[in-house]
Symmetry: C2
Subunit: 263 residues, 2 copies
């Protein structure tokens, strides 16, 4: 099986022009097949405020009303996605920017209303493995965190989840390594100290760490996502600093999430 | 050779929600391979004014400064392109939305400064015929009027020109019909009267019409584009009302631009 890297980057590096350029240089140096999934960054919030649109947040999560969907479609699928693609093309990397609507690559449904109505937020249903594989033959893919419901509706979709669903779906055809790049050096014993990276977590150790309340609340969904990917066939998940991409790939930085049985 | 329709629509129909929906229904009914090229519409101007950005116009042409490029990238490549793709997907048409940067499909250079500096406006250099052909095997393409220079710079590019360059480039591999959809019923003898459509114009008649000053100034570049496409191998060019797409395809509406030698 060919190797496939699925790499997610968040707003933090997208907002940092020099950091993004350096990351894209590292990304374009990867010789294997690769998919980049990017999040949003502060530009969407800034644009909303310039346009006088109030952002609704519930428990720190943005509610995607119609105006917000319009903004994230413009910023994520337009500005950020196309600028990343143009930069990668300049670096000799034949990138294609996509949303889930393009080629029907990722379908989702509008999140079912519970106590909170998240608006036009999408939960993923399908990934078109065969079409994505055919595109990967000659190109690298850059996904914006927007999907669709196949009924004409675009949906704002969590980039971590897109990366995990893509990695999982593709793992039947490729040896997939999923990398979550963010602002910290990895999963930390002490959230304030980048030198306390935990090099590896397997399911048993994860239970231990959780019960000792070592892991910060914000990290739990990322780790749950990572273990879910591992259980569904992804070879390896690495969580670490986006700026350290070559080291994350070489296993010299970040936290590796592994299934102990695979070792 | 397979038939390929390259169809351009302008801002007029993009700003008209019901008109666009009806057009996309007609477009998705075309059984042959097809490429849609869309222009902008008023949304970019509206967004600029909401953001407090002044638009520079010289002789009615928008100057693409850095802020304007940002806006058109968001609106054309993001909002308009992805909403069209999602609507087409709903209609069973497997659309992929692209800019020239995606897959390096269309490269351009920044327009050389003459008396006027148009800013980040692109003049097209290359079209990747082979990659576009491979995508057309299973998908229909939707191009936003944005290209890139392969050096990392996105460029705002005239949608009429993109349609003409795509049609011309693809004419070695397909029997190409290029359709310019706009708000009028075709090239008119009397610009104010939609019943005065000229059904066909060949090069000789074009010279006649121009010397008699029948054709309005705004129509001249469109017709020059059309004849240039015909001379470079495009089978047929039709200019007419975007809302009449099935009739334009059947030759029952609009103005056909033909090379008399081909008749």
């Amino acid at each position: 099986m060919d190797k496939l890297f699925v790499i997610k980057i968040g707003g933090n590096i997208i907002d940092d022009e020099a950091g993004l350029t350096s990351f894209l240089k590292d990304f374009s140096s990867i010789k294997e097949k690769k998919i980049l999934v990017h999040g949003g960054g502060k530009l969407a919030t800034r644009l909303a405020s310039q346009m006088g649109i109030e952002q609704q947040l519930i428990d720190g999560r943005r509610i995607t009303d119609a105006e917000t969907l319009k903004i994230v479609t413009m910023v994520y699928a337009g500005y950020i996605n196309k600028n990343i693609v143009a930069q990668l093309q300049c670096l000799g990397c034949n990138a294609i920017g996509l949303t889930g609507a393009d080629g029907n690559t990722i379908t989702a449904h509008k999140r079912i209303k519970g106590e909170i109505d998240y608006g036009f937020a999408g939960d993923i249903d399908t990934v078109d493995i065969s079409f994505i594989s055919s595109l990967l033959k000659g190109s690298d893919l850059v996904f914006a965190p927007i999907t669709h419901d196949k009924k004409g509706q675009l949906l704002n979709t969590n980039a971590d989840t897109i990366a995990q669903e893509l990695a999982t779906a593709m793992s039947g055809h490729y040896e997939v390594v999923l990398i979550y790049g963010f602002e910290k050096a990895g999963v930390l014993m002490d959230a304030e100290n980048d030198e306390t990276v935990i090099p590896e977590i397997d399911p048993g150790y994860y239970i231990e760490l959780k019960s000792a309340r070592v892991i910060s609340a914000g990290m739990i969904p990322k780790l749950d996502n990572a273990f879910s990917a591992i259980n569904k066939g992804v070879k390896k998940v690495v969580i670490g600093k986006a700026g350290n991409l070559p080291l994350l790939i070489d296993g010299k930085s970040g936290t590796a999430i592994t299934n102990s049985e695979q070792l």
